[in-house]
């Protein structure tokens, strides 16, 4: 036990003096996520707020062919830009970005409208562009309501009850709580938290294994009267310490960022104060030894700093897999999923953000799953360190 703490103290102090470790553990890892996240979310939110308030902009070609429709659009508050464009010109304008959505009314519109046969209009938009797609959706809805009001008028003139054309009345009830809606936007912050944990220990895990080999201090260390498990234990413990610091910094940064993100503009409240941050810390704590053991395990097999860096960068992406899986299949917190590390932390944090009740049993199961796997990896790492091949 004494040797384990000696190794821990030495690794901790030595890496505290290493600029690369400090930058990645205490700057890039914990701050990258919250900053990027804050920027993205505030831009996303301010955009959708602006869009809802702004009048729809529509470029209309051949408005003289449909004066009724043009009046209706203006009455709906649509900002019309008059133009004379052929179909090909309209395509080019939308593709080139000079117009968002173009409505073309062909000459035959008037004749067919009077004959009460479907009068054609062309709506030119780019569905791959999320901006113009929204505008096109709005234009489609307004055109649809114009069409149905004309249809009802025609039926009434012919003495038919227009309600006959509405056999089903759909009423939607949206049960999303204000916070629940925010979670859709905030869902991926959990990955940034786990990323910060791993980044915090990345360089220490490399330095204490592949680095030890590369600078030629490994053999002297291995020839000491110290159990290999103590060496490995001390190194993993030091990695854990850096990961905890990084986790704490990352959560603090998130708390700060959330103060500045204008979530309330959409009637959402994001529930990430100091109290929630502390709960997140507790939820992620069992993930720390797992991350440290995994990184030390992988780095122990590498021959050089560079090789270790390559493999561990891949390890940084491992927690994304279950999270991506969870969002594709929209998984909810379930006890059976709590044994899967990273997924369980993601689900628990999301539940807390949504103000859902979290069962204590699930928290314990999540911790148990992560710590169990961490112990297994530690044993495997120690076993590898006892092999002769460790000398390289």
């Amino acid at each position: 036990m004494h040797a384990l703490f000696t190794v821990f103290a030495k690794e901790f102090v030595e890496n505290l003096r290493d600029r690369r470790t400090l930058l990645s553990a205490l700057l890039f890892g914990p701050l990258f996520g919250p900053l990027l996240f804050g920027l993205m979310v505030s831009r996303m939110l301010s955009q959708s707020v602006v869009e809802a308030d702004e009048p729809l902009k529509l470029t209309i070609s051949g408005s003289g062919n449909a004066p009724g429709l043009t009046h209706y659009l203006e009455a709906q508050g649509v900002k019309l830009t008059m133009a004379e464009l052929s179909e090909n010109e309209a395509r080019a304008a939308v593709r080139g970005g000079t117009a968002q959505v173009v409505l073309i009314i062909p000459e035959e519109y008037g004749r067919r409208f009077t004959a009460a046969t479907p009068a054609p209009v062309l709506l030119v938009a780019d569905s791959a562009d999320s901006q113009t797609r929204k505008s096109a959706d709005r234009a489609r809805i307004i055109l649809g309501s114009y069409a149905s009001s004309i249809a009802q008028l025609r039926l009434e003139i012919r003495g038919v009850n227009p309600l006959l054309t509405v056999p089903v009345a759909v009423n939607e009830i949206d049960v999303a709580t204000p916070t629940g809606r925010a979670v859709v936007v905030l869902g991926f912050m959990t990955y940034f938290v786990l990323f910060a944990v791993l980044m915090g220990g990345l360089y220490l895990a490399i330095d204490s294994t592949a680095g030890e080999r590369e600078r030629g201090s490994l053999e002297a260390l291995l020839s000491l009267p110290v159990a290999r498990s103590s060496l490995v234990g001390g190194k993993i413990l030091a990695t854990c310490a850096y990961m905890c610091i990084s986790l704490g910094l990352s959560l603090s940064a998130f708390v700060c960022v959330f103060r500045f993100v204008p979530l309330e503009k959409l009637g959402m409240s994001a529930n990430l104060g100091v109290g929630t941050a502390l709960i997140f810390f507790a939820i992620c704590l069992p993930f720390v030894p797992l991350g440290a053991a995994l990184m030390t395990f992988v780095a122990s097999f590498t021959r050089s700093y560079r090789e270790a860096q390559t493999y561990l960068t891949a390890v940084l992406l491992v927690p994304t897999l279950p999270i991506a899986f969870a969002s594709i299949y929209s998984l909810k917190t379930r006890s059976s999923l709590m044994f899967i590390p990273s997924l369980s932390q993601h689900l628990l944090m999301t539940s807390v953000l949504k103000d859902e009740a979290v069962a204590a049993r699930d928290v314990w199961l999540s911790a148990l799953g992560s710590i169990g796997l961490a112990l297994l990896l530690m044993v495997l790492t120690a076993r590898h360190w006892r092999r002769e091949t460790m000398l390289g």
Binding site: K10, S217, A220, S223, L224, P225
Partner: protein, 243 residues
């Protein structure tokens, strides 16, 4: 006293060491001489227990290195071929780290470090970070690190590699003073002059076998050669790349 008895080691198809036996006595310097790849490092690594021999036994002061590894290692200081230091720790911290891992109390580590610093001349750079030290200074720190637990035996694997003339000279003096203190010094080298100048006894290794094990003088007499160089070459066979 370091004893190797019928040590053998294979790596896959390669027989690195075949049935090597020798004894290194206290108060004497024993040299292991051989070309690169002759099996010197493998032999030494089995002596300090980081490699397990396929057969045979190694013991330090009569303690089996496999059976009672920790106890045997407490009697043994090791300066491996790659004796790297931790660049971000000072020379003193490097030495203290190993002392602490040997389980020595902090006070004793401090006094031992002061003693070694005086003996090896570390005082002028002991508070400096190891990454700024010269090769000669590093080897001194590594030697102090290997001696922090006051071992009766010390094994050095090609300690003069990469050192300049001055550093080799001071290393030689250090080994002689260790011998004068009654310790058992065992070191390997592929430089013949070095072995001849320092050693009381030479074990010549070639192709994983002991080719000769005797004092320098008796090797010369037995071969009937006039100079040491010729004597060694005769023992090794001219093809061996000993410089």
């Amino acid at each position: 006293m370091i004893e190797a008895t019928n040590l053998s080691k294979r790596f896959g198809d390669i027989e690195a060491v075949r049935d090597i036996s020798f004894v290194a006595h206290d108060g004497a310097i024993t040299g292991i001489l051989g070309a690169n790849g002759a099996g010197k490092s493998t032999t030494l690594r089995m002596l300090y227990g980081v490699l397990t021999p396929d057969s045979g036994k190694a013991s330090i002061d009569g303690i089996d290195i496999r059976g009672e590894t920790s106890k045997a290692r407490a009697h043994l200081g090791v300066l491996p071929h790659a004796a790297g230091l931790y660049g971000n720790l000072t020379a003193r911290e490097n030495i203290h780290y190993f002392g602490s891992l040997h389980g020595i109390g902090a006070d004793l580590v401090r006094s031992r470090t002061a003693e070694l610093a005086r003996l090896l001349g570390l005082d002028s750079f002991i508070e400096r970070r190891a990454k700024g030290l010269s090769q000669g200074q590093r080897i001194k720190v590594a030697l102090a690190r290997a001696l922090i637990h006051d071992p009766g035996n010390i094994v050095l694997d090609e300690p003069t590699n990469g050192l300049d003339v001055m550093a080799i000279r001071s290393l030689r003096e250090m080994l002689l003073s260790l011998k004068a203190q009654g310790r058992c010094v065992l070191f390997s080298s592929h430089v013949m002059q070095e072995v001849a100048a320092l050693c009381d006894r030479v074990v010549i290794i070639g192709h994983g076998c002991v080719l000769a094990d005797a004092t320098v003088d008796s090797i010369r007499q037995a071969s009937g050669a006039a100079s040491l160089e010729e004597a060694f070459l005769q023992v090794l066979g001219d093809t061996e790349g000993v410089s």
